[in-house]
């Protein structure tokens, strides 16, 4: 590894516990020319709204943005799947010259007629504003003509970071919330915000709450239906899992509908358990909910503990590096990894905020690297320096880990294995175990008994 320096523009975003003292710089745009692992505003909006299964998602722009997000998430549906299709207005040169609003109108109109969605989201990409398309007015017109909400998602890629895309998605969702009939919603009801039903995770979590006697009114947006979102204001509490993306919607709902919210995480034994107990504590007028929660927790923990301990014995002292979307998840994962005996030597995120990073600093061991908006160079450097055995991250990070010759666990939105909840914790442990303990690592140059001399490195 060439030992290159951290870019001057990025020095405030890399921190080593025990050595550095400053506040981590975060929430800033990626430095130009740095190879960020982040995407753009559009990406933020698209991933959040993607799991709404009975909505049409039309990307207004040239073909790339729609093509790169076709069937991109591991979010499962129990019914419709129109969300898994990729629709684009495929803007071409003449559209750029003369404007694309007419094309957008025709495209959306014919696609709505063809697929009969319950709502349509129209995503603006980079050039839409520049060529002067009035997407709002197309949406208003279509809403009237088609009798379904046609909502503009203001997600022009360059207008901020991925976080601004989350915000645009929340604004789009806020237009739906409050428009449905809530007369049938029972009092002990919650919404789960920022749970995307990757590999069926929302179903797992829903079941825990059901067994506690808590009704899950709407999951936003995992396996969501437009109708659920419209009725979301009927719940007593918002439970926010992916806080980076959904806190803004929770705040809007708190202000507008007086629905309080709590922040939870469904990853790892500790945080999963808190997520159930915190909800039970909210419904303190029904003490039986807490009792049932205890039963759920006990049953679930008992069911997996034996196998988890087996992994812990094998994995004790192994080192993990984390690079995830939001820092709050890193927090859960550090705890989850400790349960299976592993130490975290690097914890980074694409979009963490100041409080997240302060919390991360507190919980981390001495010497842990904490990093905001890392690039491949920094990730690989610290992974190598800190001798990590596995990297936990997303698809873009996988080849970095594999090329260095260490294990990898996909904890991003494409995953096909449920990692949330108690059974998710077990899956996580299994996945980490089967990557870290694989015999193939003895052949990689890092560990090669022949010092890599057998093959040109």
């Amino acid at each position: 590894m060439e030992n290159l320096k951290i870019l001057e523009d990025r020095k405030g975003q890399v921190f080593e516990k025990g050595k550095d003292k400053f506040d981590l710089l975060c929430g800033v745009k990626s430095a130009s020319g740095a190879v960020s692992q982040r995407a753009c505003v559009f990406c933020g909006s698209r991933v959040v709204l993607y799991p709404i299964t009975d909505a049409l998602h039309l990307v207004h722009g040239p073909i790339g943005c729609a093509a790169y997000t076709w069937d991109i998430r591991g979010s499962l549906s129990s019914g419709p799947s129109v969300n898994r299709m990729s629709f684009s207005t495929d803007l071409r040169e003449l559209d750029v010259v003369y404007g694309g609003a007419d094309k957008l109108y025709k495209a959306a109109s014919s696609l709505i007629d063809k697929h009969s969605p319950k709502a349509a989201f129209i995503y603006s990409t980079c050039i839409v504003g520049l060529i002067g398309d009035d997407v709002e007015s197309v949406c208003r017109k279509l809403t009237l003509e088609k009798g379904i909400p046609v909502i503009h998602v203001d997600s022009e890629g360059f207008k901020g970071t991925k976080k601004d895309g989350y915000r645009a998605a929340c604004e789009a969702l806020a237009k739906l919330v409050g428009t449905g009939d809530i007369s049938g919603v029972v009092p002990v009801s919650i919404n789960i915000l920022g749970e995307f039903n990757l590999a069926g995770e929302a179903w797992i979590i829903r079941d825990y709450y059901r067994r506690m006697g808590v009704n899950v009114n709407a999951v936003i947006t995992g396996d969501a239906r437009v109708e659920d979102i419209k009725r979301a204001h009927g719940a007593a509490l918002n439970v926010v899992q992916c806080s980076g993306s959904m806190t803004y919607l929770a705040k809007i709902m708190e202000e507008k509908y007086k629905i309080p919210y709590i922040r939870v995480s469904y990853f790892g034994l500790e945080d999963m358990t808190s997520a159930l107990y915190d909800v039970a504590a909210f419904f303190k007028d029904s003490p039986e909910i807490l009792e049932r929660a205890k039963t759920v927790v006990k049953g679930e923990v008992d069911a997996i503990m034996g196998e988890l301990l087996k992994y812990r014995n094998e994995l004790r002292g192994k080192k993990a590096a984390l690079y995830v979307g939001g820092a709050f998840k890193a927090f859960s994962l550090i705890k989850a990894l400790r349960v299976i005996g592993m130490d975290v030597v690097l914890a980074g995120s694409q979009t963490g905020n100041k409080e997240d990073y302060e919390d991360l600093k507190k919980i981390s061991d001495e010497g842990t690297i904490i990093i905001d908006d890392a690039n491949p160079q920094e990730l690989s450097r610290f992974i190598t320096e800190k001798k990590a055995d596995i990297l936990i991250g997303g698809v873009k990070e996988r080849p970095i880990a594999y090329k260095i010759g260490i294990g990898f666990c996909d904890h991003n939105h494409e995953r096909k294995t449920a990692l949330a909840g108690y059974e998710g914790m077990l899956n996580f442990a299994r996945e980490v175990y089967s990557s870290v303990m694989s015999p193939v690592w003895k052949f990689v140059p890092r560990n090669d008994a022949f010092g890599g001399k057998r093959g040109r490195p």
Partner: protein
């Protein structure tokens, strides 16, 4: 031929945007890194898309446009990006590709780079190659070709004429590139193959991270392309309009020959004959044996493939060559579809396949997967041949899918797809035949364990 109006929308695109192609072409230059002049998302999406196929790290920088840049121009962003990129990567070459955003606001990248070079001093800088790749114009295949041409245009330098060959194979796999290089070496031909991403996009284990993967066409060789005796370009995408081969022919008088991708006996024979002609050598025995085995397998399997319909979809260079190969073995390429703009594919197939009209071949140009699905439903081919993006149709209609083209996102081995030459053809032929046999076996009410 009926001309279809450009559709108002695309459902499940069978194409990607042009900057993606440019990134791949730049990965084929030794010591190069690439920066996309636009939003952060373009670089990240393209990386993710390509990483998932090649299973290799791929660093692509972005000039990371802000709102200010969109209003006042992206010059400052781009210059800062270049500074940072040089500091971190110390590249020999930087490929700069535009995006829809920088093109729409009218950034003149050529001009920005002139200012940059003037300001920073040319001596300290890597070679800068810029290409215009607005996503609203053409597809990733056009971006690939445009970037390849820009590189040659920027670097080729006239000096003494040499008896060398330029081979521009187009968007083929790293495995195919390796095979072509071996073939040229076995003929004893001095050559420049460009873009050569056979190592950069399909490397062994590194032991540590390499910011710039080893491999790629050396800049020195690219300079020498101006002095070659001949250029061979593969693929119909290079036929009309701009291509690196045509540029060298016009500017430096290097004769340019366009050939289809060598898939199949006939297409490979034509290519090999050309190599014999250039080198004055006869084909090494090794290739005659490969050819012999391939034809032997054609005979072994002829009954299983005769008259069997296939749907071929993807980049038009691959579709064109694959369709002609299928015709060669007696299969019917009943659907030939590409997301590329209309105009080339059908024209080529009509010229290359005898009795085209009698064979029941439907060519779909500027097509998306919804249009392809409609055609597949109508003609019920026995097999689908193309990228992994055909999976949705394959699953729905229960038709086996042979994954042999970019992208393959649901299997490993995308970089090792082999189509070119006798050995590449052998592999794809075996895959097709075996998938037909498997389907037949699965469909049998009793099953059978001997053929």
């Amino acid at each position: 031929m009926k001309t279809r109006e450009a559709p108002v929308s695309v459902t499940n695109a069978c194409k990607l945007c042009s900057p993606l192609g440019a990134v791949l072409a730049f990965k084929g230059i030794e010591g190069a890194v690439c920066i996309l002049h636009g939003s952060q998302g373009c670089a990240t999406y393209i990386r993710r898309y390509m990483i998932s196929h090649y299973k290799e790290p791929l660093d692509v920088a972005s000039s990371s446009f802000s709102e200010d840049a969109a209003v006042f121009g992206g010059a400052a962003s781009l210059m800062q990006g270049l500074d940072n990129l040089i500091k971190q990567y110390r590249p020999a070459v930087i490929g700069i590709a535009t995006t829809c955003l920088s093109e729409t606001i009218g950034d003149d990248v050529g001009r920005i780079l002139q200012d940059y070079v003037k300001n920073r001093g040319a001596a300290k800088l890597p070679a800068l190659i810029n290409v215009s790749t607005p996503a609203y114009k053409g597809t990733h295949a056009d971006g690939f070709l445009a970037a390849a041409k820009s590189a040659v245009e920027a670097l080729a330098e006239k000096s003494e004429k040499e008896n060398t060959l330029n081979l521009f194979p187009g968007m083929v796999s790293p495995e195919d590139i390796r095979h072509l290089k071996e073939l040229l070496a076995d003929f004893g031909i001095e050559y420049t193959l460009f873009p050569d991403y056979s190592e950069t996009m399909d490397a062994g284990q590194w032991g540590g991270y390499k910011l710039i993967p080893p491999g790629g066409t050396p800049v020195k060789s690219l300079k020498n392309t101006a002095n070659a005796a001949l250029t061979i370009e593969f693929g119909i995408s290079a036929q009309n309009g701009d291509s690196p081969g045509k540029f060298l022919e016009e500017k430096f008088g290097v004769k340019n020959v366009n050939m289809p991708l060598p898939i199949g006996v006939k297409a490979t024979d034509n290519f090999i004959e050309k190599l014999e002609e250039i080198s004055g050598a006869t084909v090494p025995d090794k290739y005659l044996f490969e050819r012999g085995r391939l034809i032997d397998s054609y005979v072994d399997a002829h009954k299983y493939v005769f008259g069997v319909k296939a749907a071929v979809f993807g980049d038009e260079d691959m579709v064109a060559a694959m369709a002609v190969f299928l015709d060669e073995i007696g299969m019917v390429p009943s659907i030939c579809a590409s997301g590329a703009p209309a105009g080339k594919l059908e024209k080529y197939l009509r010229s290359a396949i005898t009795d085209f009209d009698g064979k029941g071949i439907t060519v779909l140009e500027d097509a998306d997967f919804e249009i392809i699905e409609g055609a597949v439903e109508k003609t019920s081919p026995a097999v689908m041949i193309g990228s992994s993006k055909g999976y949705k149709i394959s699953r729905k209609l229960d038709i086996p899918l042979i994954r042999c083209a970019f992208p393959v996102h649901d299997r490993i081995g995308g970089a090792r797809i082999a189509l070119a030459g006798y050995t590449g053809t052998q592999k794809i032929f075996d895959s097709i035949v075996n998938s037909l046999l498997e389907a037949r076996q699965d469909a049998s009410p009793v099953g059978f364990s001997y053929m």
